[in-house]
Each structure stands twice: as C-alpha cells, then as structure tokens.
C-alpha cells in the first residue's frame, strides 16, 4: 500500500511548522527524511502516522485516511527514546504489540524476530536491564513484530557512534525488506544518506525539491 501525504500544513502557536508538504512512499521504498533539528521532521512523521492531524492537507494509506486504527494495523514505529513499555519484559512488549494489533499473539514470529536481531537470550529481560544497543534492537523488533506495511523510525541512531549508526541503518533496511515493509527514517544525521536509495530533505517546514 502506498503512503501519500498531500499538501500538508501544520502550525504551532501561530508559527508554521510544515507548509505544503507532499510526498509518496511506494511499497518497498527505502526513504531517508533528512533535516536539521527543528526542521519539522518529527511533526511530519507524526502526521504521516496519524498521531497528529494536519491543519491542512491529508494523509492516506492506499485510499484510507490514516488514523489510530490504520496506525495500529499497518504501522511499525521506532522512537529514539520511547522504546518499550517498562513494566513488561522484552517478549511481553512484543506480545502486547501483537495483541493490540490482532488480539492474539504469534510466538513463532516473536522468536524468529528476536533471533534475527540477536536478542533472543534477552527475551525475558526488562527494558531497564537492556543495554543501549539491545534496547534499540528491541524497539525495532517491537515495531516489526506486527508485520507493518510501513516502518517508520525517528532518529533511530542519534545516540550511536558512526559505526553503530551505519549498522542500525543497514539493519533497518534489511529487516524492512524481509518484512516487505516500506521504510521511512527521519534523522539529522547526514552519514545515513548512503544507506537509502531516496532522500527527502526537509528545511524550514518544506520539502526541498
């Protein structure tokens, strides 16, 4: 399914954050949303995921406007800081994500994903017991365990050095491809550009041509 944003506009406190943003993410796309801090990347991701409503324009997945239900069924989202629910184990987080999406859980999918990300032995660890790297991979597992059509990551490498950042970017690309998901990564880190076939540059609330 294609994710389409058409002429999005958003203001906050009278200040325009986004203006006239249109983009299209086709199935299988690997896109980097690049822009400095304050350029409106997070706001654009929130609009694309249906976490916020645009003041103007619209976002659709296929022909369906994106809302809470669409986000639950079709999106996997990785944040920089909010990664896992603290009261649950890593495995519990993945089960919860699946239950929220379908009402049931798929243990085989969870096991496969944990093994693929190299954190199977940490399945019963609580979030505060995970290292930074493990927590990052756990967040990716949580986003992917629901077999999303769209995988969105907001600054997934901000706390990592160059080598680890490159590794995470490559991993996201591989996993999205394996899952058959489109990938959109928002970052200010220009070093990730080589890992993506397509780069969207956001500056002052507008996408560069």
């Amino acid at each position: 399914m294609q994710l389409t944003a058409h002429d999005l506009g958003k203001t906050f406190g009278g200040r325009p954050i986004l203006s006239g943003v249109s983009l299209c993410l086709a199935p299988g796309d690997r896109a980097l949303l690049l822009g400095p801090s304050g350029s409106g990347k997070s706001t654009l991701l929130n609009l694309l995921c249906g976490l916020q409503r645009p003041d103007s324009g619209r976002v659709t997945l296929g022909d369906t406007p994106v809302d809470d239900g669409v986000r639950r069924r079709h999106f996997g989202i990785v944040f920089q800081s909010l990664r896992l629910v603290s009261a649950l184990s890593l495995r519990g987080n993945l089960v919860l994500a699946q239950k929220l999406q379908t009402g049931g859980s798929d243990p085989a999918r969870i096991d496969a994903l944990l093994a693929r990300l190299g954190i199977a032995q940490r399945a019963h660890a609580r979030p505060h017991e995970l290292s930074q790297g493990e927590a990052q991979r756990a967040a990716i597992a949580r986003a992917l365990v629901v077999r999303p059509a769209i995988l969105v990551a907001d600054e997934p490498t901000s706390a990592l050095d160059a080598a680890n950042a490159a590794a995470v970017a490559a991993l996201l690309g591989e996993l999205a491809e394996e899952a058959g998901a489109s990938l959109l990564v928002a970052t200010h880190d220009d070093r990730l550009r080589p890992h993506f076939a397509r780069t969207l540059t956001l500056a002052d609330g507008r996408l560069a041509a």
Binding site: L51, F79, Q80, S81, L82, V85, S86, A87, L100
Partner: protein, 414 residues
C-alpha cells in the same frame, strides 16, 4: 489490558502490597462485624423462636435469657417446682417447658427437661429414641459429632455448666447417663445440648422425685440454689413459656413479677436490648473500618497519580502502538479495581479464617453458634462497595491518561 495492569501492579510490589493490605484489613473488619451482628441476631432469633416468656430466679433478665434460651451464661438461680403448676393453671399459657441445669459433659450442658423442649425447638432424632426413663440422654448433633458418642454408650456429667478443671473434681461417677438418641442438626442451640429428663438431673444430685414433675414435695439434694426457698427442695432452673393468646403477654409477666422468688423476662425484649448494646459497640469499629477502606482508596489514588506521572512515556508508547484512549483508560482503571478486588478477596478469606480460628480458640464463640464459612449476601455488596472505592480512586488518574496527548510526551522525551 488486564495483563498489562497486573504487570504494572507487580512492578511496584511494595505500594501494591500496602494498598491491598489496607483494603484487606478494612474488608476483614467489615465482614467480621457483619458476620458477628447477623449471626448473633439470627442465632438469638432462632433459639428464642416460640418462647414468649422465660421465668426464672430473680436477677438480671438478660442473664436469664442468656442462660436459659441461648445457654451461654450462668443461671440466675433456681425456682420452686410449684412455679410450673402456677403457670400451667393460667388459661393464657399454652405450654410450659421446664429446664433443670447444673452439669456438663465435656463442656456441653446437660439440660433436664421434658418432651415439650423437643416440640418447642422442632427437634428431630437422627438416631435412637427420645429419653424416657431416668439417666437416659439424647445428644445434640454437635455433641455427638465432637465427642464421638454412640447409642448405648455411657457417660458421666461433671458439676458446673462449663468444662472447667474444677469440674473434673466433681464428676458424678455414681450416676452415669446412657445415650439413647442423637438429634439431627438444627443449626441452633440444641446442637450443643444434652437432653435428659428432669428426674435424671435430680437423681444425679441425690434429689428424689417419686411423685413426678409438677408436684410440690420436700426432697433432699445437693443442688445449688441461689434463691430457692430451701436448699434441698427439688427445684427447676427456668421455665420456657408459650402463650395461648395475646392476653398472656398482658397478664402473665405481671403475675410472675408479683412472686417474690420469680422474675419474668421476654426474650424478644432482652435480645433486642443485647443487640442494641452490641450494635452500639460495633458501630465505632464499623466506622473505623470504612475509614480504613477510604484510606485504601486514597492510597490507590496517590499511587496511580504517581504512576501516571512517572510512566506517561509508557502510556504514550501504548497509544503509538495503537492502543485507543479507552484502552489506556481501562488499564489504569483495571489497576485500581484489581487492587481493590485482591484486597477484598484477601480480606474476606482473612475474616472467615479468623472466625474459624476463633471458634477453635474461644469456645464462647462456638457456643454463640458463630459459623466460619457461611457467606452472607451483604458481603457481596460490601466487597462491591470496596471495589467501587478502588474504581473511584482510579478514575482521576485514568481520566488524566485518557486525555494524554502522546505527541506532547514524545516531544518532551526528545
């Protein structure tokens, strides 16, 4: 969402345990008070059913009722044998059941009476037959169960109405009883009594009654008589009176009170007075228990408000993962309700467990007929009220969560 709520409760075990404990204590107290009040009231009502008046020696009317109807206190003394005939002559009196107390067998009272006692309490035999000849005894269901007595077995009573050490020195070995019948359980006082004829009681104490009950004679005996006319006169302890008509209530008590050695006590009046006294003293405890429940609710509120503040990131993530506002609201509500449910369940179990333990350790409670595992419908209402307190306490933090904007939390989290 219930799984998640349980996970959050497990995540802060100390706070959860404290809140559960507060609610459990309050529920346990409320259930205990409810059980005590209800069972005492029911027991008194049941045991006094059909008895319009109790006639005994002068003293406390409440003591007379307790000793002669509920069998949980010492008698006020003895009364002349002729008192029975006096009452039976009154046309407003339908039935007079005599009682002669004084001995026990392993703490169970031996009650000298006649067939009217069985009719009054609607007693049925589970085995054997009713007593007839002197020294024949019929055991209450609980007596038979706890002593393991069987038909044909003999036993000897001890002086006094309780199984006290000093009583063992005054065992009536010279006059053994033989068990001829065992009563079916009634749930009332008869379960804990040993019934025999008045003549048997007199015979045990060396008082001869050749002319039968209801006639006045001079005899010799050892019976204690707090206010009897003569120390060796065949006497009775009390008379249970049933009126034939309403005129009895007007005339008989006044007629009895004119007798210098007698007093009349109305079971309904005395038990109501006792329940009033009991109720007044229990009321303070009841208020305290509800205050404790309110404190438990407040503790849940404080814990959940703190939880919402410290875990707004979690809750925002839940929304991002697709949880609806209603689901995150429900999670917080579940925490409050589950805490109250667990507290209520533990409190209920603790209350009934305490009654069970108390029955074993405090014979007076067993004599009161306090049963351990007889849930009352009001207990469900009580538990529901405490769960309601938990739900009410969770409402404010749950509404805060409902209104939570995940985007703002994400922005703050960076």
């Amino acid at each position: 969402m219930i799984d998640l709520a349980l996970a959050y409760l497990r995540d802060r075990p100390l706070t959860t345990a404290l809140n559960v404990l507060l609610l459990a204590i309050s529920v346990a107290m409320l259930v205990l008070l409810l059980q005590l009040g209800t069972q005492a009231s029911a027991r008194m009502g049941r045991d006094a059913e059909g008895i319009d008046l109790v006639v005994g020696a002068k003293g406390s009317p409440l003591q007379l009722i307790l000793s002669s109807v509920l069998h949980i206190d010492q008698p006020t003394g003895n009364i002349p044998l002729a008192s029975r005939a006096l009452l039976e002559r009154d046309p407003a009196v339908a039935r007079v059941v005599p009682l002669a107390l004084g001995d026990n067998f392993r703490g169970y009272r031996i009650v000298g009476t006649d067939a009217g006692f069985a009719a009054l309490h609607r007693l049925r035999l589970a085995a054997g037959r009713s007593f007839g000849a002197p020294m024949e005894a019929v055991l209450g269901a609980e007596v038979a169960r706890t002593t393991g007595a069987r038909i044909g077995q003999k036993f000897t009573g001890s002086h006094g109405l309780a199984d006290e050490d000093e009583g063992q020195d005054q065992a009536h070995d010279h006059a053994p009883f033989v068990t001829v019948g065992i009563l079916a359980p009634t749930g009332g006082v008869a379960d804990r009594l040993i019934l025999t004829s008045i003549d048997s009681v007199w015979q045990v104490h060396g008082v001869k009654a050749h002319h039968g009950l209801g006639e006045e004679h001079d005899h010799h005996g050892e019976r204690e008589a707090a206010s009897g006319p003569e120390p060796h006169e065949p006497e009775l302890t009390a008379l249970l009176v049933t009126y034939r008509n309403a005129a009895g209530a007007m005339r008989v008590p006044a007629m009895i009170d004119r007798q210098s050695a007698l007093q009349a006590a109305v079971p309904a009046t005395e038990t109501a007075r006792l329940l009033d006294l009991l109720g007044a003293s229990l009321e303070g405890l009841r208020v305290f228990a509800w205050l404790l429940a309110a404190t438990g609710g407040l503790a849940i509120l404080v814990a959940l408000v703190g939880m919402v503040h410290s875990r707004e990131g979690d809750l925002a993530l839940l929304r991002v993962m697709g949880a609806s506002r209603g689901q995150v609201f429900g999670t917080v509500m579940c925490e409050g309700v589950l805490t109250a449910l667990i507290g209520s369940a533990l409190g209920w179990i603790a209350a009934h467990g305490l009654i069970m333990v108390a029955r074993v350790n405090f014979p007076a409670l067993a004599e009161l007929g306090l049963a351990a595992w007889t849930p009352l419908p009001a207990e469900a209402a009580l538990a529901a009220a405490v769960v309601g307190i938990g739900a009410f306490a969770a409402l404010v933090p749950a509404l805060r969560v409902y209104r939570l904007d995940p985007v703002l939390v994400l922005a703050r989290a960076g």
